[in-house]
Amino acid sequence: MHRSPALLAAMFVGFAFLYAPIALLMVYSFNASREVSVWGGFSTKWYGELLQNQAYLDAAWLSLKIAATSATGALVLGTLAALVLVRYGRFRGRMVFNGLITAPLVMPEIILGLAMLLLFVALEDLTGWPDGRGFTTIAIVHTTVGMAYATVVIRSRLAQMDESLEEAAMDLGARPVKVFFLITIPVIAPSLAAAWLLAFTLSLDDVVATQFVSGPGSTTLPIEVFSSVRLGVSPQVNALGTIIVVAVAVVIGLVWRLSAGKRR
């Protein structure tokens, strides 16, 4: 097939554009100088300072808890939604359901954040729940967003699945719930893991919607980072960014190796 040098060059430039800022961030996180863009020798002191910054540590712990909770919620809801979309055929309300599940993928987060806040305020007014804003309200918003992404991931795997295994089990008298847990889940397990990880990552990174529904004492890591970098560049954030990039690269690399091993 036709592969011109110009195309290869354009592709290379595109990848360089994607990776140069990340590479520079990582390099400058080891910069001894406080002046972020002037090289002042190698040092790991920003990592040391970062690990002693209690505000960041607290925020990171809260973020991890929220991310684990909402990713699990998103996984359960996303699996159910994917089952409905793939297995239920046509039913009344399918169009609406499909619309509702894909809309959060493209809906600007600023609208979602405002809308969720107004809902929580109205609910609290009516029922007394949720009492203030914090962990619960943030987790609910992240679950809704994560669910939309989880559905996309699980649905495409479910659509490719060979249903004859399930049918065989049914013919042998297994109940639907049993079939689901013993056959469907193991078959689609990789997509479930991917969906959970995706929802987890999205939650861990969310600024805009979280800003609306977080209360005093519930500052997540991205909110903490955002409010500090608004004032200017900070060497500690460079170090934090490097840690995040390395962690993500390691996880993705592992998942890649595992799935590549299976395919062989």
Binding site: H2, R3, L7, M11, V13, G14, F15, F17, L18, P21, I22, L24, L25, Y28, E35, V38, L80, A81, V84, V86, Y88, F97, L100, I101, T102, A103, V106, M107, P108, I110, I111, L112, L114, A115, M116, L118, L119, V121, A122, D125, V141, T144, R155, A159, L198, Q211, F212, P222, V225, F226, R230, G232, V237, N238, G241, I244, V245, A249, I252, W256
Partner: protein, 302 residues
């Protein structure tokens, strides 16, 4: 057997009901509330808006609707500017994403089969790393005393630092950079499906590569172009983090204006009206995107 049958039916309904109810309560209802509050008057207090429905003494519900918030939006130059600027910046950024993303997607689709997986992975990895950190990484590059200016001055291309950070230019860079993977992935999906024999046929008939590209590749990748453009354009219109970190005082985008009205002025009805106005501009592209998605899925399921 009958009992088992009703059990099964109940189970089926439950599987549908749980995610459906969640979406109605935690997605649709909030949007309806935004619509409702955008029609009520603002007031001082908590919550800072007048109730839309007043239960009069006779037990009759009085519905108070006010279009004031919308009128104020249209009369205020600041918001009209923000509206126009958001759509312009998002539109131009989408086009730039397409210009950079198309050759990337095409290059990956035409790479040897073994290389496609890793190349695709390279596009996806930045999407998994923190969006906030990636936007932030441009701050130290684009500053007046930043890495880019240092490099350009060292080479001797410029004598004075270019002022990029806190201007619209930096916002363009930030949006194109952050949303590029969203453009490349759908483009790749449609280019990968393209039957190579079509291009061979075009070449056999004497079409030069450029001609074959315009006549065959480009039209067949149109679904990818539309999907990618929507995935970039719609969130870019409401972008808040990028203009906050990279934009300047005169970069007024709707997302930022909405947050300022909400958090600083504390005028919730006005913020709601702003959200509805933003949604109005996005309903068409969102609907278009959804129709395309549904069509693609139906094709897949067939």
């Amino acid at each position: 057997m009958r009992v088992a049958g009703t059990h099964r039916e109940l189970g089926r309904r439950l599987v549908l009901a749980v995610p459906y109810v969640w979406l109605l309560v935690f997605f649709l209802a909030p949007l309806l509330i935004v619509g409702k509050i955008s029609l009520s008057e603002s007031r001082l207090g908590i919550p800072p808006y007048e109730p839309l429905i007043d239960w009069a003494q006779s037990g009759l519900a009085m519905v108070k609707v006010s279009l004031n918030n919308y009128v104020l939006l249209f009369e205020d130059d600041l918001y009209v500017q923000a509206y126009i600027q958001s759509l312009t910046i998002a539109g131009i950024s989408t086009f730039l994403c397409l210009l950079i993303g198309y050759p990337m997607a095409l290059g990956i689709a035409r790479a040897p089969e073994k290389a496609r997986g890793p190349l695709l992975l390279l596009v996806i990895v930045p999407f998994w790393t923190s969006f906030l950190i990636r936007v932030y990484s441009w701050m130290s590059i684009l500053r007046d005393e930043g890495i880019l200016n240092h490099a350009l001055m060292a080479v001797g291309l410029i004598d004075e630092p270019l002022i990029i950070l806190n201007t619209d230019w930096a916002v363009y860079v930030g949006i194109v950079y952050s949303y590029l993977p969203f453009m490349v992935l759908p483009l790749y999906a449609s280019l990968e499906k393209l039957d190579p024999s079509l291009l061979e046929a075009a070449a056999d008939l004497g079409a030069r590569p450029v001609r074959a590209f315009i006549a065959v590749t480009l039209p067949l990748s149109l679904p990818g172009i539309v999907a990618g453009s929507m995935l970039v354009f719609v969130p870019a219109v409401g972008e808040y983090v990028i203009p906050s970190l990279l934009g300047g005082g005169d970069t007024q985008m709707l997302g930022k204006a909405l947050w300022d009205v909400f958090a600083q002025t504390r005028d919730w009805p006005a913020a709601s009206a702003l959200a509805m106005a933003m949604l109005a501009a996005l309903v068409l592209p969102i609907a278009l995107f959804q129709r395309l998605q549904t069509r693609l899925e139906e094709e897949e399921n067939r």
